[in-house]
């Protein structure tokens, strides 16, 4: 009986030792990955062997979880890392609304004849399409190079925005190509917009 108990104690001691070595190794690696020296993790585990018990390693675990890791500082200081605005105040202000609220007008010549589109702001967005108009917010430019739909127009604060929807004909603002990835662009100061091969002059009605 005595030998059995001794064997059990010995076995649990062996398991305990293996567990301690494993825990120390893993703690070393985890702490290293966060950018801190690995020995700090090993040391925290080895503290359980001392008279301090487990309370100090437990406190260290909480400190480690909520402290600032060097890894995060390295990531933010790395070249090419996107800079984070510190506060919303650092963001550029939105474009100011225009006092002039006259309707916008796009006019030009398509394959089917003259085109005159008016955007009076009664709709927040308009869909520019090469097909026939079915809804109030659709604007038709009947031409084979114009997509169905081709682009989206936004009227807000007296300003006019344009977004390309990725059709093969393409969209240009004063000669510069507008891609779908560019998102909506303010074209209030533009003079000419190309949708496909159709040239449309921008003006106020």
């Amino acid at each position: 009986m005595g030998m059995e108990i001794l064997g059990l104690v010995g076995l649990s001691s062996v398991f305990g030792l293996i567990g301690l070595v494993l825990a120390g190794w893993m703690a070393w690696r985890i702490v290293e990955k966060s950018g801190l020296p690995g020995w700090a993790g090993l040391g925290a585990i080895l503290l359980t062997l001392t008279g301090i018990g487990t309370i100090v390693p437990l406190i260290l675990l909480w400190v480690f979880a909520f402290m600032r890791w060097p890894r995060d500082e390295m990531a933010s200081a790395a070249p090419g890392a996107p800079a984070r605005p510190s506060s919303p105040a650092a963001l550029p202000p939105p474009p100011a609304a225009l006092a002039d609220r006259r309707p916008w007008r796009l006019s030009g010549l398509s394959a089917s004849g003259p085109v005159a589109l008016s955007m009076d702001g009664t709709q927040p967005t308009y869909l520019l399409t090469g097909a026939a108009v079915h809804q109030a917010n659709e604007l038709s430019v009947p031409d084979p190079t114009v997509g169905q739909p081709h682009a989206r127009l936004f009227v807000s604060g007296g300003r006019l925005g344009l977004e390309d929807l990725g059709t093969p004909g393409g969209t240009r603002i004063d000669g510069a190509r507008l891609l779908p990835g560019h998102g909506p662009r303010d074209i209030s100061a533009a003079r000419v917009v190309h949708v496909g091969t159709v040239e449309l002059a921008l003006s106020r009605a």
Partner: protein, 80 residues
């Protein structure tokens, strides 16, 4: 005799209940910081619930954190 057996049963039940409560409290003290460590590393915080598994649970969590690549990135090897 019945009374002794009843008292013994009550004692064992209370001991088991106390052990379970103690285990849950200990696990909770470990789960909270480990949840944060897991999410900061890029893993699901639910990984820390392995602490509820007696004996080997903490080793599983530590093993995943120690031996797999962190989705949110690690400190470069040269800077460690």
């Amino acid at each position: 005799m019945d009374l002794i057996a009843w008292l013994l049963g009550l004692g064992v039940s209370l001991f088991i209940f106390g052990a379970v409560v103690l285990h849950l409290l200990t696990a909770l003290v470990l789960i909270i910081p480990t949840w944060r460590i897991c999410t900061r590393a890029g893993f699901s915080g639910a990984l820390s619930l392995f602490h509820l598994v007696p004996l080997i649970g903490p080793f599983i969590v530590m093993g995943v954190l120690a031996f797999s690549d962190w989705p949110n990135g690690e400190a470069p090897a040269g800077k460690r």
